[in-house]
């Protein structure tokens, strides 16, 4: 597995875990009340910050382990990595656009801040997860 593929896997795994943890915490805090009453700002910020740090740490730890077996492959990327990165960005971008349009609609209807922020948050999350899945499929199955 090449350096950039490990990064794609690390990002995908961390994204799925971070989003799951966020949803569980929000639902736990909401209890039987409305989710709009949840203090979502610190939860969301911790999820985003924690997700970024965790993805970096997982990538570094995985890189160290892989580097022990193949010292030549550490940190190397090439044309295929760039092509796969472009493809996954293109795939993921659609969800950011959909979320952005959703935010405009929610603002037009003066929805609660909770729904506006979470629509954008899940747009980023789904974009990251779908883009990550597209990346790992391209690494495993091919990109032609």
């Amino acid at each position: 597995m090449v350096y950039e593929e490990r990064n794609a896997w690390a990002g995908l795994i961390v994204s799925v875990i971070a989003v799951t943890v966020y949803v569980v915490l929000v639902l736990q805090q909401a209890g039987s009340g409305p989710v709009t009453d949840v203090d979502w700002v610190p939860l969301m910020l911790w999820t985003i910050g924690g997700g970024i740090v965790a993805a970096i740490l997982v990538s570094i730890a995985w890189g160290i382990l892989a580097g022990m077996r193949d010292p030549d492959g550490v940190g190397k990327s090439d044309q295929r990595d760039r092509d796969i990165a472009h493809m996954s960005t293109r795939v993921g971008q659609a969800f950011i656009v959909i979320a952005g349009l959703g935010v405009i609609v929610l603002c037009a209807f003066e929805a609660d801040w909770f729904w506006i922020a979470n629509t954008m948050f899940f747009g980023f999350a789904v974009s990251s997860i779908v883009g990550g899945i597209a990346s790992v499929i391209a690494y495993r199955r091919g990109l032609v």
Binding site: D78, R80, L143
Partner: protein, 71 residues
Amino acid sequence: MVKPTQVTNSIRATREAAGMTQADLARTVGVTRQTLIAIEQGRYSPSLELAFQLARAFGVGLDDLFDYPGE
């Protein structure tokens, strides 16, 4: 499902005839061994620049290494 490319190549046969390993050729053209494997197996279409680099690594023309059947 990834749409297979119609471009085929004889990189593996040419490389083996030249007595080169995948690691040797990958190093020569500046890609990872995994990328070279993907190209040899038809799972990745190289850029035109990389295709030229591969052909030059063997001292052959593009047409000798890559084939496109067309219609």
